[in-house]
């Protein structure tokens, strides 16, 4: 089920109603668990079995890890959990990719093997709930958390519908303590939650699907090179689409959880106002970047083993982070470029310039440079193939001067206005929180803005298309 659908409106109204009935807390949690499984099964019922398998195995394995005292046995149980989770991920997400690359490799050494095509359907959100679940067993292994006593609580943590299919990627410490005592939203929480849902839907339905997606789809969808203006507009449009799509989802997730009385942290913080790439990654998909930091980068050494090893660790983390987004070399290059940016930035900070407190003008210049370079990476993220990405970059460099214009004026105007508006808004919000801005705004302006966002969502009549991050 997607948030931007009439089915979700009805579903959420029923869940809210049930959650606010005078029922025992255990019954309310059971309602939430059943609702979460219905939410997931409403997309493709059989894949709920994978979610159950991952949940049950990780809960049992975590108990075994905690019970064992012999390090080897603890490690063996950990491998059971990692094997299962990464096995599911590997088969469903990377099966075809690995097969194709194996085939290419074999062809390279003269062995021509034509395997049958696997028709594998990617279970929605598998990358997200796998990471939820894996973080738990790893935390138990590292003795950072105690095993959760009840399977029921762990199942609700993994399956909680608000963040089940596209994050934020939560840790048990984010959510499980909140399950321990009765929680329903206060009137203020409910209202603010609804406001956040409206804002998230506006980002998704109006900006991502209404404004940016048609432009990005057109520019990246044509089988011939486009002109320089169209190439830039298409790339900027995708940059707006990917942000509004994913940040929109995260905002709805945060708002929906808050309506039920649960607090989920933000997943984005004005990333297009970032000054530098480490700043960008503190603002973009925060739950993934902290997950990779805590469960990959630091365990493989982080910055504790010398400068060269640090660079290697950054690159490894970013390449795998890229691959997490999809089974295609374009994603690996996307991650690799971000790795190079981070390494270069670290080197520049240490070797060339004193980074501390640049002037406002320099900050703006650095923010623009960061935004432009991030956009270069989005070309690889959006293009279906490496050659398509290269063609697009050549178009952006003006190497296809004869290429035809393809974008209608109305799309050009919409893209320019909305991208400028988006970047300006993020710059304004760079060091502010939404809560502070709302507190300081005049009530009439706020009400008009809230009503206008809701009105725009309704009259845009979204197509109910899935969020981009569902496929990751």
């Amino acid at each position: 089920m997607v948030f931007n659908s009439l089915t979700f409106v009805v579903f959420f109204a029923i869940v809210l109603l049930l959650h606010n009935l005078p029922l025992p807390w255990s019954v309310k949690k059971l309602n939430l668990l059943i609702a979460s499984y219905l939410f997931y099964a409403a997309w493709n019922p059989p894949f709920i079995l994978l979610l159950w398998a991952s949940t049950i195995v990780d809960w049992l394995v975590a108990r075994q890890i905690n019970r064992q005292v012999v390090p080897g046995r603890r490690k063996a149980w950990l491998f059971v959990s990692l094997g299962l989770n990464l096995g599911f991920l590997g088969f469903f997400k990377y099966g075809n990719f690995m097969l194709e690359n194996w085939q290419t490799l074999m062809a390279g050494i003269g062995v021509h093997y034509q395997p049958p095509k696997w028709d594998i359907l990617l279970p929605i959100g598998i990358s997200f709930y796998t990471f939820h679940s894996m973080s738990y067993t790893l935390d138990v292994y590292w003795r950072r958390v105690e095993p959760i006593k009840k399977l029921f609580d762990f199942a609700l943590f993994v399956g909680f519908f608000t963040q089940l299919v596209a994050g934020p990627i939560l840790r048990t410490s984010d959510l499980v303590p909140q399950f321990m005592s009765p929680r329903t939203a206060t009137r203020k929480q409910l209202c603010w939650g609804l406001a956040l849902i409206t804002l998230g839907l506006f980002e998704k339905v109006v900006l991502a699907d209404g404004v940016f997606a048609p432009v990005a789809d057109t520019v990246f969808g044509v089988p011939f090179p486009v002109g320089m203006v169209d190439a830039y507009l298409g790339t900027l449009a995708f940059s707006g689409q990917i942000f509004c799509d994913f940040a929109g989802y995260s905002t709805v997730a945060v708002g929906a959880a808050l309506c039920l009385g649960f607090s989920i942290p933000n997943n984005f913080r004005s990333p297009y106002a970032a000054i530098g790439f480490s700043d960008f990654w503190r603002r973009w998909h925060i739950s993934l970047s902290t997950w990779l930091r805590d469960y990959l980068y630091i365990p493989i050494g982080g910055n504790r083993k010398g400068e060269v090893r640090t660079y290697a660790n950054v690159m490894t983390t970013m390449l795998l982070g890229g691959l997490w987004h999809g089974a295609n070399w374009t994603f690996v290059i996307w991650g690799g470029l971000h790795g190079i940016y981070l390494v270069a930035e670290r080197w520049l900070k240490q070797a060339v310039v004193r980074w501390a407190l640049p002037s406002p003008f320099v900050k703006v210049v650095l923010a623009i440079v960061t935004f432009v370079l991030v956009n270069v990476t989005w070309v690889f993220f959006r293009a279906k193939t490496l050659s398509a990405a290269v063609t697009m970059l050549k178009a952006m460099a003006g190497l296809h001067p004869q290429a035809p214009a393809i974008l209608p004026t109305v799309n050009v105007l919409e893209t320019v206005v909305c991208i400028v508006g988006l970047v300006w808004t993020q710059w304004y919000m760079r060091d502010r929180t939404l809560e502070d801005v709302v507190t300081q705004a005049p009530p009439a302006v706020l009400a008009a803005a809230w009503a206008s966002l809701a009105f725009a969502v309704i009259i845009t009549q979204g197509t109910g298309d899935a969020f981009i991050y569902f496929q990751f």
Partner: protein, 376 residues
């Protein structure tokens, strides 16, 4: 990522035994300090006023509650009827002409059977025919409505509706029902009159070679239950929209004459699918609905009847109705040159169903069987 500058990692370095950053602390989301009751009431009031104003404006523009819109979800509902209904169902495939020009109630009145409407606006019937040929359950009467322009075009990949029907999720299915229910009361729920569609109705200046949405197909249909669709009544009465539609059709339909090779190739492929349906006891007939004015002239040049229509019927050994052959099907109102008005659609349906009843054994036999069953 927070890879090189993490304060939490610095903490870790001071505790080498724990090589990990601390877990996030539990936190409560801050709530903005505003008067929420007043805020919600004011927001609801503004939203209500905006929606009522928008609904009035949309109705002023000719949209009506009860016009259910059309889309892949509704198509999937009808397609499933083929599988759940009797094997000898009557199914209509084709493009917008047979979709708008067929009155399902008239069909039912004259034959006792309500056809399943699977025609698609701007659609090519070839892949739908192929889909039904592959469906072993279907052994009924297939009515293929053709504008030669769409049937003799490259069908491309399988149409979205077939992929959607095969992968429709339970939530999408329930969403269709909810949308249909709301559409009965809200005129503004129309995919052709969304915020961004309306922006495309302005004639913006375009760069050389760019075709903007102004010269695209705007709303031309009104749709009801069972995908009963008619030409949108506003096209009949609004000179500007009618002229726009005519200009768009002429732009789209203009092109070179179809090649003999293409006709032969498509006819051969079509015959193969038809043969499979006939082998199961089904039947296939063809309808060429009316067009008029400059558009008809273009069609006569691009798709000469002998070379295309006659050859198709011959190659597939089929019975077909070309509107120009029957007096009752001529002089009907074709406001945009390509589709009949609602009243003419009823007259056209009655006319072509009477001809089918007379010439197609499949219908005659079923009519006898149906009346026998009824009398028993």
């Amino acid at each position: 990522m927070h890879l090189s500058i993490s304060s939490s990692e610095s903490d870790v370095q001071q505790h080498p035994a724990v090589e990990l950053s601390p877990l996030p602390m539990r936190f409560e989301r801050p709530i903005p300090f505003v008067s929420w009751t007043r805020m919600v009431l004011l927001t609801s009031y503004i939203l209500f006023v905006l929606l009522v104003a928008w609904e009035f404006e949309m109705r002023r523009m000719g949209l009506q509650p009860g016009d259910l819109d059309d889309g892949r979800g509704y198509w999937a509902v009808e397609r499933r009827k083929v599988d759940s209904g009797p094997r000898d169902s009557v199914v209509i495939v084709g493009d917008s002409r047979i979709l708008f020009d067929t009155d399902l109630a008239a069909w039912q009145r004259l034959t006792g059977r309500r056809p399943i409407q699977l025609a698609l606006m701007g659609g090519n019937a070839q892949p739908i025919l192929h889909d039904l040929a592959n469906d072993e359950h279907f052994a009924g009467l297939l009515v293929i409505g053709t504008a030669e322009f769409s049937y003799f075009a490259d069908p491309g990949p399988p149409p979205e509706v077939i992929r959607y029907k095969n992968s429709e999720s339970p939530s999408q299915r329930s969403g269709i029902h909810l949308y249909r229910t709301l559409s009965r009361y809200c005129a503004f729920l129309d995919s052709n009159y969304t915020l961004f569609s309306l922006l495309g109705h302005y004639d913006w200046p375009e760069r050389n070679g760019v075709h903007g949405p102004y010269m695209g197909v705007w709303k031309i249909a009104e749709s009801y239950d069972d995908r009963q669709s008619y030409l949108w009544q506003r096209i009949e009465h609004d000179d500007y929209l009618r002229e726009h539609a005519r200009r768009v059709w002429i732009t789209i339909f203009t092109g070179p004459q179809v090649t003999t090779g293409s006709v032969e190739q498509i006819s051969t492929r079509t015959k193969s699918d038809i043969d499979r349906i006939r082998a199961r006891g089904g039947e296939v007939v063809w309808i060429r609905p009316p067009s008029s004015g400059p558009l008809l002239e273009i069609e006569r040049v691009r798709y000469p009847r002998q070379k295309v229509w006659d050859r198709l019927l011959q190659a597939t050994s089929s019975f077909g109705i070309f509107f120009e052959d029957y007096p009752a099907m001529q002089h009907l109102r074709c406001p945009d040159g390509s589709h009949l008005s609602k009243s003419s659609a009823v007259a056209f349906t009655e006319a072509y169903v009477r001809v089918l009843r007379e010439h197609v054994g499949f219908l005659r036999d079923r009519a006898v069987a149906d009346s026998t069953r009824a009398s028993e």
